[in-house]
Symmetry: C2
Subunit: 113 residues, 2 copies
């Protein structure tokens, strides 16, 4: 068992296409997790994640702040306590409102590792 | 994509051995999630989850409140923002403090389904 505060894990700049967004890989293969990873994203005021798609799912929980998710033709407001499921292959983007947004995003490990 | 507040998912009584604990399966095979599920547990003041072990991991994030995790010979205090990784096969129990504790707990889908 390992327990620690999420802020003990360093925040890294999120991937290309993101604006004012950091990611902390709070549980990953480094801790020995066999199947999936837990990350914490912090999107600054007016920031966003990349608009992209990939062959794996996202399981998301909004921890703080407000924003929107765009997926396909759909947009939906998000606030603390919202859950989002993005299916494999769905184009998606998360956009923070004026106060920013913090969220958990879990993803399966890459299948070829 | 599906987005909703976690409280829209019904709270069910947690499994035998738990005290004052409910679980919401906020993302599961029902939404088509292919690999793992996200649950939200609410442990009432002085309540606890069962002390048990199983051949799958837990990936946990404490959303609110305070408590403790016991695993093997180790105990650790938990507060909002704490992350806990419980490895497959580790005996573990979560205990809430006087104000209760709310936490996310992600688990892989059963391997035989």
């Amino acid at each position: 068992m390992r327990a620690y505060h999420y802020t003990e894990v360093p925040a890294e700049k999120a991937e290309e296409g993101a604006k004012d967004t950091t990611v902390r890989w709070v549980i990953s293969q480094r801790q020995g997790a066999p199947n999936f990873a837990m990350r914490v994203f912090e999107v600054g005021p007016g920031g966003h994640t990349p608009q992209h798609e990939h062959p794996w799912e996202h399981e998301i929980f909004v921890l703080a702040g407000r924003g929107r998710v765009k997926a396909g033709e759909t947009e939906q407001d998000l606030t603390e306590g919202c859950v989002v499921y993005v299916a494999p292959g769905e184009r998606h983007q998360f956009l923070a409102g004026a106060e920013g947004m913090r969220m958990i995003c879990c993803v399966p490990h890459p299948k070829d590792e």
